[in-house]
Symmetry: C2
Subunit: 119 residues, 2 copies
DNA sequence: CGGCAACACTTGCATTATGCAAGTTTCTCT
DNA sequence: AGAGAAACTTGCATAATGCAAGTGTTGCCG
Protein backbone atom coordinates (compact mmCIF):
# COMPACT_ATOMS: atom_id res chain seq x y z
CA UNK A 1 0.00 0.00 0.00
CA UNK A 2 2.48 2.65 1.09
CA UNK A 3 6.12 2.73 0.21
CA UNK A 4 8.61 1.94 2.90
CA UNK A 5 10.29 5.32 2.61
CA UNK A 6 8.54 8.02 4.61
CA UNK A 7 7.36 11.06 2.72
CA UNK A 8 8.80 13.35 5.36
CA UNK A 9 9.78 13.32 9.00
CA UNK A 10 6.44 14.86 9.97
CA UNK A 11 4.70 12.69 12.54
CA UNK A 12 1.33 13.36 10.93
CA UNK A 13 2.55 12.29 7.49
CA UNK A 14 4.26 9.18 8.88
CA UNK A 15 1.21 8.13 10.87
CA UNK A 16 -0.93 8.60 7.79
CA UNK A 17 1.46 6.39 5.83
CA UNK A 18 0.40 3.70 8.28
CA UNK A 19 -3.30 4.34 8.93
CA UNK A 20 -4.23 6.97 6.33
CA UNK A 21 -6.62 5.05 4.15
CA UNK A 22 -10.27 4.10 4.09
CA UNK A 23 -9.95 0.71 5.78
CA UNK A 24 -7.12 0.38 8.28
CA UNK A 25 -8.79 2.31 11.07
CA UNK A 26 -12.03 0.43 10.54
CA UNK A 27 -10.23 -2.84 11.16
CA UNK A 28 -8.68 -1.30 14.24
CA UNK A 29 -12.13 -0.10 15.30
CA UNK A 30 -13.45 -3.65 15.02
CA UNK A 31 -10.52 -4.99 16.99
CA UNK A 32 -11.11 -2.32 19.63
CA UNK A 33 -14.70 -3.51 19.81
CA UNK A 34 -13.50 -7.00 20.55
CA UNK A 35 -13.82 -8.66 17.15
CA UNK A 36 -11.11 -11.18 16.53
CA UNK A 37 -11.90 -13.43 13.57
CA UNK A 38 -11.59 -12.78 9.86
CA UNK A 39 -15.28 -13.42 9.29
CA UNK A 40 -16.27 -10.97 12.01
CA UNK A 41 -14.42 -8.14 10.29
CA UNK A 42 -16.06 -9.12 7.02
CA UNK A 43 -19.50 -8.83 8.58
CA UNK A 44 -19.07 -5.19 9.56
CA UNK A 45 -21.53 -2.92 7.76
CA UNK A 46 -18.91 -1.38 5.48
CA UNK A 47 -18.35 -4.77 3.84
CA UNK A 48 -14.60 -4.77 3.44
CA UNK A 49 -13.36 -6.92 0.57
CA UNK A 50 -11.48 -10.01 1.69
CA UNK A 51 -8.31 -9.19 -0.22
CA UNK A 52 -8.13 -5.77 1.42
CA UNK A 53 -8.88 -7.20 4.84
CA UNK A 54 -6.17 -9.78 4.38
CA UNK A 55 -3.74 -7.13 3.21
CA UNK A 56 -4.47 -4.83 6.16
CA UNK A 57 -4.19 -7.56 8.76
CA UNK A 58 -0.81 -8.56 7.34
CA UNK A 59 0.39 -4.98 7.39
CA UNK A 60 -0.82 -4.45 10.93
CA UNK A 61 0.94 -7.64 12.02
CA UNK A 62 4.17 -6.37 10.44
CA UNK A 63 3.89 -3.10 12.32
CA UNK A 64 3.02 -4.91 15.53
CA UNK A 65 -0.28 -3.12 15.88
CA UNK A 66 -2.01 -6.50 15.81
CA UNK A 67 -1.01 -9.98 16.89
CA UNK A 68 -2.29 -13.47 16.31
CA UNK A 69 -3.17 -15.80 19.14
CA UNK A 70 -4.91 -19.13 19.37
CA UNK A 71 -8.65 -18.66 19.37
CA UNK A 72 -10.36 -19.58 22.59
CA UNK A 73 -13.76 -20.17 21.06
CA UNK A 74 -12.61 -22.27 18.12
CA UNK A 75 -9.75 -24.55 19.19
CA UNK A 76 -6.97 -24.94 16.67
CA UNK A 77 -7.79 -21.62 14.99
CA UNK A 78 -5.98 -18.33 15.18
CA UNK A 79 -7.53 -15.03 16.04
CA UNK A 80 -6.40 -11.41 15.99
CA UNK A 81 -6.17 -8.81 18.69
CA UNK A 82 -4.57 -5.42 19.27
CA UNK A 83 -1.12 -5.40 20.79
CA UNK A 84 -0.19 -2.99 23.53
CA UNK A 85 1.08 -0.67 20.82
CA UNK A 86 -2.12 -1.16 18.86
CA UNK A 87 -4.22 -0.08 21.80
CA UNK A 88 -2.39 3.24 21.87
CA UNK A 89 -4.23 4.11 18.65
CA UNK A 90 -7.50 4.31 20.55
CA UNK A 91 -7.24 8.07 21.23
CA UNK A 92 -7.02 8.65 17.48
CA UNK A 93 -10.04 6.43 16.95
CA UNK A 94 -11.89 8.25 19.67
CA UNK A 95 -11.15 11.72 18.30
CA UNK A 96 -12.37 10.63 14.88
CA UNK A 97 -15.42 9.00 16.39
CA UNK A 98 -16.29 12.13 18.34
CA UNK A 99 -15.90 14.34 15.31
CA UNK A 100 -18.14 12.13 13.21
CA UNK A 101 -20.85 12.00 15.84
CA UNK A 102 -20.76 15.76 16.19
CA UNK A 103 -20.39 16.93 12.62
CA UNK A 104 -21.73 14.25 10.30
CA UNK A 105 -25.45 13.96 10.18
CA UNK A 106 -26.89 10.49 10.43
CA UNK A 107 -23.97 8.87 12.22
CA UNK A 108 -24.86 6.80 15.22
CA UNK A 109 -22.95 5.60 18.22
CA UNK A 110 -22.73 1.90 18.82
CA UNK A 111 -23.07 0.62 22.34
CA UNK A 112 -19.86 -1.29 22.26
CA UNK A 113 -17.91 1.87 21.56
CA UNK A 114 -18.20 3.23 25.06
CA UNK A 115 -14.66 3.24 26.21
CA UNK A 116 -13.63 -0.11 27.54
CA UNK A 117 -10.16 1.10 28.38
CA UNK A 118 -9.58 -2.17 30.16
CA UNK A 119 -9.44 -4.28 27.02
CA UNK B 1 -12.54 10.58 -4.30
CA UNK B 2 -15.23 8.98 -2.18
CA UNK B 3 -18.74 8.25 -3.25
CA UNK B 4 -21.51 10.41 -1.89
CA UNK B 5 -23.24 7.48 -0.24
CA UNK B 6 -21.81 6.63 3.17
CA UNK B 7 -20.54 3.12 3.68
CA UNK B 8 -22.37 2.87 6.99
CA UNK B 9 -23.75 5.09 9.70
CA UNK B 10 -20.59 4.59 11.79
CA UNK B 11 -19.07 7.94 12.66
CA UNK B 12 -15.58 6.55 12.20
CA UNK B 13 -16.36 5.25 8.72
CA UNK B 14 -18.08 8.48 7.70
CA UNK B 15 -15.25 10.65 8.96
CA UNK B 16 -12.79 8.48 7.09
CA UNK B 17 -14.85 8.93 3.93
CA UNK B 18 -13.98 12.59 4.31
CA UNK B 19 -10.41 12.64 5.62
CA UNK B 20 -9.28 9.02 5.31
CA UNK B 21 -6.59 9.27 2.71
CA UNK B 22 -2.92 10.12 2.48
CA UNK B 23 -3.32 13.80 1.68
CA UNK B 24 -6.38 15.50 3.11
CA UNK B 25 -5.11 15.76 6.67
CA UNK B 26 -1.77 17.05 5.47
CA UNK B 27 -3.51 19.92 3.75
CA UNK B 28 -5.45 20.54 6.93
CA UNK B 29 -2.20 20.38 8.89
CA UNK B 30 -0.72 23.06 6.64
CA UNK B 31 -3.81 25.19 7.03
CA UNK B 32 -3.63 24.73 10.80
CA UNK B 33 -0.02 25.93 10.62
CA UNK B 34 -1.19 29.09 8.91
CA UNK B 35 -0.40 28.32 5.29
CA UNK B 36 -2.93 29.84 2.95
CA UNK B 37 -1.74 29.84 -0.66
CA UNK B 38 -1.66 27.03 -3.18
CA UNK B 39 2.08 27.37 -3.62
CA UNK B 40 2.69 27.12 0.11
CA UNK B 41 0.97 23.75 0.29
CA UNK B 42 2.99 22.60 -2.67
CA UNK B 43 6.21 23.47 -0.90
CA UNK B 44 5.54 21.17 2.06
CA UNK B 45 8.11 18.39 2.33
CA UNK B 46 5.71 15.65 1.18
CA UNK B 47 5.46 17.32 -2.24
CA UNK B 48 1.80 16.92 -2.98
CA UNK B 49 0.96 16.80 -6.67
CA UNK B 50 -0.90 19.84 -7.92
CA UNK B 51 -3.86 17.89 -9.25
CA UNK B 52 -4.37 16.18 -5.89
CA UNK B 53 -3.96 19.43 -4.01
CA UNK B 54 -6.51 21.07 -6.27
CA UNK B 55 -8.89 18.16 -5.82
CA UNK B 56 -8.59 18.19 -2.03
CA UNK B 57 -9.07 21.91 -1.70
CA UNK B 58 -12.21 21.71 -3.81
CA UNK B 59 -13.55 18.87 -1.69
CA UNK B 60 -12.77 20.69 1.53
CA UNK B 61 -14.52 23.78 0.21
CA UNK B 62 -17.60 21.69 -0.58
CA UNK B 63 -17.65 20.27 2.91
CA UNK B 64 -17.08 23.69 4.42
CA UNK B 65 -13.93 22.63 6.16
CA UNK B 66 -12.06 25.31 4.22
CA UNK B 67 -13.07 28.68 2.83
CA UNK B 68 -11.60 31.15 0.38
CA UNK B 69 -10.96 34.72 1.30
CA UNK B 70 -9.15 37.61 -0.34
CA UNK B 71 -5.45 37.38 0.36
CA UNK B 72 -4.07 40.14 2.51
CA UNK B 73 -0.48 39.82 1.29
CA UNK B 74 -1.26 39.61 -2.41
CA UNK B 75 -4.12 41.95 -3.25
CA UNK B 76 -6.63 40.62 -5.74
CA UNK B 77 -5.72 36.99 -4.98
CA UNK B 78 -7.65 34.45 -3.04
CA UNK B 79 -6.31 32.41 -0.18
CA UNK B 80 -7.56 29.48 1.86
CA UNK B 81 -8.18 29.07 5.55
CA UNK B 82 -9.96 26.69 7.89
CA UNK B 83 -13.56 27.47 8.69
CA UNK B 84 -14.88 27.21 12.20
CA UNK B 85 -15.92 23.67 11.39
CA UNK B 86 -12.50 22.98 9.91
CA UNK B 87 -10.78 24.04 13.10
CA UNK B 88 -12.72 21.37 14.98
CA UNK B 89 -10.57 18.80 13.21
CA UNK B 90 -7.55 19.93 15.19
CA UNK B 91 -8.01 17.38 17.98
CA UNK B 92 -7.84 14.60 15.38
CA UNK B 93 -4.72 16.15 13.93
CA UNK B 94 -3.24 16.45 17.38
CA UNK B 95 -3.94 12.84 18.37
CA UNK B 96 -2.30 11.66 15.16
CA UNK B 97 0.62 14.00 15.68
CA UNK B 98 1.13 12.75 19.21
CA UNK B 99 1.00 9.12 18.17
CA UNK B 100 3.55 9.68 15.43
CA UNK B 101 5.95 11.48 17.71
CA UNK B 102 5.68 8.75 20.29
CA UNK B 103 5.66 5.60 18.16
CA UNK B 104 7.35 6.36 14.86
CA UNK B 105 11.06 6.68 15.00
CA UNK B 106 12.62 9.63 13.23
CA UNK B 107 9.57 11.86 13.31
CA UNK B 108 10.18 15.39 14.48
CA UNK B 109 8.00 18.08 15.88
CA UNK B 110 7.85 21.37 14.05
CA UNK B 111 7.87 24.54 16.06
CA UNK B 112 4.78 25.90 14.47
CA UNK B 113 2.78 22.91 15.64
CA UNK B 114 2.62 23.96 19.24
CA UNK B 115 -1.05 24.51 19.73
CA UNK B 116 -2.06 27.95 18.66
CA UNK B 117 -5.65 27.34 19.65
CA UNK B 118 -6.30 31.00 19.01
CA UNK B 119 -6.06 30.78 15.24
C1' DC C 1 -11.73 -42.63 7.83
C1' DG C 2 -14.47 -39.97 3.96
C1' DG C 3 -17.10 -36.18 2.82
C1' DC C 4 -19.12 -31.84 3.32
C1' DA C 5 -19.44 -27.18 5.12
C1' DA C 6 -17.65 -23.14 7.09
C1' DC C 7 -13.72 -20.32 7.50
C1' DA C 8 -9.65 -17.97 5.98
C1' DC C 9 -7.71 -16.57 2.73
C1' DT C 10 -5.74 -15.91 -2.70
C1' DT C 11 -6.21 -14.80 -7.48
C1' DG C 12 -7.80 -12.35 -11.63
C1' DC C 13 -9.55 -8.66 -13.53
C1' DA C 14 -12.31 -4.07 -13.89
C1' DT C 15 -12.53 0.46 -11.88
C1' DT C 16 -10.83 4.31 -9.37
C1' DA C 17 -7.17 7.01 -7.16
C1' DT C 18 -2.52 8.62 -7.18
C1' DG C 19 1.87 10.32 -9.20
C1' DC C 20 4.33 12.85 -12.50
C1' DA C 21 5.17 16.06 -16.14
C1' DA C 22 3.70 19.32 -19.15
C1' DG C 23 0.37 22.69 -20.61
C1' DT C 24 -3.01 26.58 -19.90
C1' DT C 25 -5.07 30.46 -17.69
C1' DT C 26 -5.11 34.36 -14.65
C1' DC C 27 -3.16 37.92 -12.37
C1' DT C 28 0.51 41.42 -11.23
C1' DC C 29 3.94 44.35 -12.11
C1' DT C 30 6.65 47.08 -15.05
C1' DA D 1 1.65 45.34 -24.05
C1' DG D 2 4.85 41.68 -22.29
C1' DA D 3 7.21 38.86 -18.81
C1' DG D 4 6.84 36.02 -14.98
C1' DA D 5 4.93 33.88 -11.21
C1' DA D 6 0.87 31.61 -9.18
C1' DA D 7 -2.97 28.60 -9.63
C1' DC D 8 -4.75 25.37 -11.70
C1' DT D 9 -5.94 21.53 -15.65
C1' DT D 10 -4.91 17.76 -18.64
C1' DG D 11 -2.94 13.37 -20.18
C1' DC D 12 -1.12 9.38 -19.26
C1' DA D 13 1.43 5.64 -16.35
C1' DT D 14 1.27 3.18 -12.05
C1' DA D 15 -0.80 1.67 -7.81
C1' DA D 16 -4.81 0.88 -4.78
C1' DT D 17 -9.50 -0.64 -4.40
C1' DG D 18 -13.68 -3.39 -5.46
C1' DC D 19 -15.84 -7.49 -6.83
C1' DA D 20 -16.43 -12.29 -7.81
C1' DA D 21 -14.79 -16.62 -8.04
C1' DG D 22 -11.43 -20.06 -6.67
C1' DT D 23 -8.31 -22.74 -3.32
C1' DG D 24 -6.64 -24.83 0.83
C1' DT D 25 -7.44 -25.92 5.64
C1' DT D 26 -9.95 -27.16 9.81
C1' DG D 27 -14.08 -29.28 12.25
C1' DC D 28 -17.61 -32.12 12.54
C1' DC D 29 -20.75 -35.95 11.36
C1' DG D 30 -21.70 -40.28 9.88
Amino acid sequence: MNSQTPRSCCPVACTLDLIGDKWTLLVIRDLALGKSHFSEFQKSPERIATNILSNRLTRLLEYEIVEKYPSETIPGRDAYRLTKKGKTLKPILKSIFNWGIRYIEGTKSFDEMRQNESS
